[in-house]
Subunit: 202 residues, 2 copies
């Protein structure tokens, strides 16, 4: 059975929890508190030198890090990843977009605000507004004439982008002017075996 | 023939130029000056809504963005990408690590310093030192007992990490204390058909 090292408020971890659940793959959850340094202990660094969750332990005892690499690994050969070469590249395009243009703005703002660092990070929060909204606009434009991000069906690209977009307001990003994104969030929520970010039992 | 929209000083663009050359694939280069806003024109935004280079135009006229997604697309079925499922996931792990933990610190510092923004960005540059060196340490640890990042052979993981690591000093990151990285840079440079980041003719 897989073991997932995770921190429940993490959207990066949530991506993996959601996919594993929708694939019907059982897994054990080892929760670590990143606020208490539990991902920077010598024991955990021996598992992941980069000191981050989520970290997936395979049945062979091998560890795999980086949420979107884990999504790719788990979805290969399933309905959650297209087999067509270009469509697969489009999925990857959205996954790299997520980690480079979306997560560092929207997720980092949410992290600071939900962990009581709003005052200390005021300037940095302000600096993240424009690039965060620019990332949301890229999604809005795509979703204006497509129900999902790739191939008009639900894939790991949707899982990866849903993770932090559906809690964007916790990072002080309003979705009021993004009706296409709001409709898409609803379509993602309607997928079979959807789970919530806070869900701890699987 | 492929067409690559690019900006020569860009390490992200360099990854694609290097791989295309090492694959022996001819391509035409359309150079855009990001400092003059040439990637934010309506014409370019119609090609890539995210307004960034590199952008690869396929022979079919389809556009593919995100440097590491382009590397994955071009390398599939070649010696530059393993076929084993876990090894491929390890390549992806390094590619996402590169875009999340390495590039935003080392490449962004280099961009500011080489484009005359050193004074204006002093605090941000200082803030990027610790996470940038932490990313280099993750590489150093891996390379201490492996000649390359994945499967002990040269893959797109090496291309992706080489792009900004070999010019880290331009971003004020010294490689003096990273002997394993320096030896690996030499091994990457020795690969057949290596090109330089500044090379404009292919």
């Amino acid at each position: 059975m897989y073991r997932l090292y995770d921190f429940l408020p993490s959207g990066n971890g949530y991506k993996v929890r959601l996919l594993l659940t929708q694939l019907g793959m059982p897994f054990e959850l080892t929760l670590l508190d990143i606020m208490k340094g539990e991902t920077r202990t010598p024991e955990f660094l021996a598992k992941n030198a980069n000191g981050r969750i989520p970290l997936l332990e395979l049945e062979s005892g091998v560890y795999l890090s980086e949420s979107n690499a884990i999504l790719m690994y788990l979805s290969e050969g399933t309905d959650f990843l297209p087999t067509d070469r270009l469509a697969k590249a489009r999925v990857l395009q959205w996954l790299f977009f997520e980690q480079y243009s979306h997560e560092p703005n929207i997720a980092t703002s949410r992290f600071w605000l939900t962990h009581g660092m709003g005052m200390e990070k005021q300037q940095a929060l302000a600096d993240k507004q424009a690039p965060g909204y620019a990332a949301l606009q890229v999604m809005e434009d795509r979703l204006a004439d497509h129900p999902f991000l790739v191939e008009d069906r639900y894939t790991i690209a949707d899982i990866a982008l849903y993770a932090y977009t559906h809690v964007a307001e916790e990072g002080n990003f309003s979705l009021e002017n993004y009706p296409q994104i709001r409709a898409w969030l609803g379509r993602v929520r309607e997928q079979a075996n959807h789970v919530l970010i806070t869900q701890a039992e699987f």
